[in-house]
Symmetry: C2
Subunit: 259 residues, 2 copies
């Protein structure tokens, strides 16, 4: 039986990035794409809890079944699993995102939110991103990377609770090298521009500069991207077990509690 491949993104069913992704995936299996009906960037793992979700079939694209959802990327994955795909997907692939999801951007990305939802559901999941926000970005430079990673994940699987965050630099041709990397420590500075409305109320738009906090660290995703390589970062959806021992005072503080 051909693999069942579930696709989503956060740039919407109309984005060229998801079409470029589907073009690569149809040779690996039967593809179902369930994507937001409009851009939902920055939605992280948000879910729609108290509004209705419309799930609207779209015309097939290159052999793939297409659906749009009036919700977030995670809504798309959940609805797809429960009401679209005929059986459990063999792999969930998200993207290709228009813009980087490297470093701390992974926390806010709807494309990676969808991959993390797939991972939480227990399906091997991968998110792909290209460091070019343009609507007409050249996704052909992603082709061999997508092929290579999807083939490897279909063959090898992924550990329970771990998905992959793959970022590719926009350099006009496919990368020559993939790097297994860690998410780079970074932060945004001066994050908001302030305005005043006609009634004297302040309002704000998100903006700011991205600062790499460890530019010399060769093991990070940002280092790989800045050197023209693609980065492959494993992302753990839940690592509380390994984290407890790092807080040396926690057990003692819990035992010291008196109501």
């Amino acid at each position: 039986m051909r693999p069942l491949i579930l696709v989503s993104n956060d740039d919407s069913i109309h984005a060229s990035g998801v079409h470029a992704l589907i073009d690569r995936l149809v040779k690996f299996g039967d593809v179902y794409a369930v994507c937001p009906d409009a851009p939902r960037s920055g939605q992280s793992m948000a879910i729609t809890v108290s509004e209705p979700l419309f799930l609207i079939p779209q015309p097939d694209y290159n052999g793939a079944r297409m659906y749009k959802v009036s919700g977030t990327p995670v809504d798309c994955i959940k609805l797809a699993i429960h009401h679209v795909v005929p059986r459990r997907p063999d792999i969930i692939v998200t993207g290709i995102n228009h813009g980087s999801n490297a470093s701390i951007n992974v926390l806010y990305s709807g494309t990676m939110g969808a991959a993390m939802e797939g991972c939480a559901f227990g399906v091997p999941s991968v998110g792909f991103s290209l460091t070019d926000h343009a609507e007409d970005a050249d996704f052909s430079q992603c082709d061999p990377v997508v092929d290579h990673i999807v083939e490897a994940v279909l063959k090898n699987g992924l550990p329970q609770g771990v998905c992959l965050n793959v970022n590719m630099p926009s350099i006009g041709h496919p990368v020559t090298e993939l790097r297994a990397a860690v998410g780079c420590r970074a932060h945004w500075t001066e994050e908001y521009r302030e305005y005043t409305d006609p009634h004297g109320r302040k309002f704000y738009f998100l903006t700011g500069d991205f600062i790499n906090d460890e530019p010399e660290n060769e093991s990070t995703d940002l280092w790989a991207l800045e050197h023209g390589f693609a980065s492959v970062v494993p992302v753990a959806v839940d690592r509380s077990e390994e984290t407890i021992p790092t807080i040396q005072w926690l057990d003692e503080a819990c035992r010291a509690y008196r109501p």
Copy 2:
């Protein structure tokens, strides 16, 4: 100098849970509460990327400065840090959430999203939740737990990149015991109810049953809650470094890539 305490939540500035939290915090330091102007449950770490955010001062409450924001819990933390607090907070405390954020709920929770944002910014951060969704839930049963944890975190700090997810059972009186725990593996089944609109289009509302996948595991947060204890789960915001070695095929697959 008294500690500077930044507070947020996802149930809105009007929720009784955040007022109950502030009532405990004012004795520890100077409190600034920056919360959504309406409920934003399920917003995870979502950010508002292409709409304006209004930041509106509210009347003080019990000595705390209060603000409401027309955005997500993470928007609240980011705006607060850049445009509200006079200096870097010493601690960020979110909640008290109306309803459990234990187990996989931590992934979707806006209250925990705000705590994770604080953690990503490098400030010790804690989210509190009570397992009662009612608007008039009895938060007095949380008092000694909040006091104990906030005091311990102010004294001991937290490791870089780790925040705390504290859940308390609604049992009519304060818990007698705190348990350092891991997030329980669980899943939701039958997640959507299907409807048909007057035009024949299908739509869906989120619903479903929560299934504990490891009910016998005494180290989980759900086990603690079900036995009348509060759970304290360390949540890692980025653990890619420790995760790479768990994917044994990854390095070899990256080296095998040819464009």
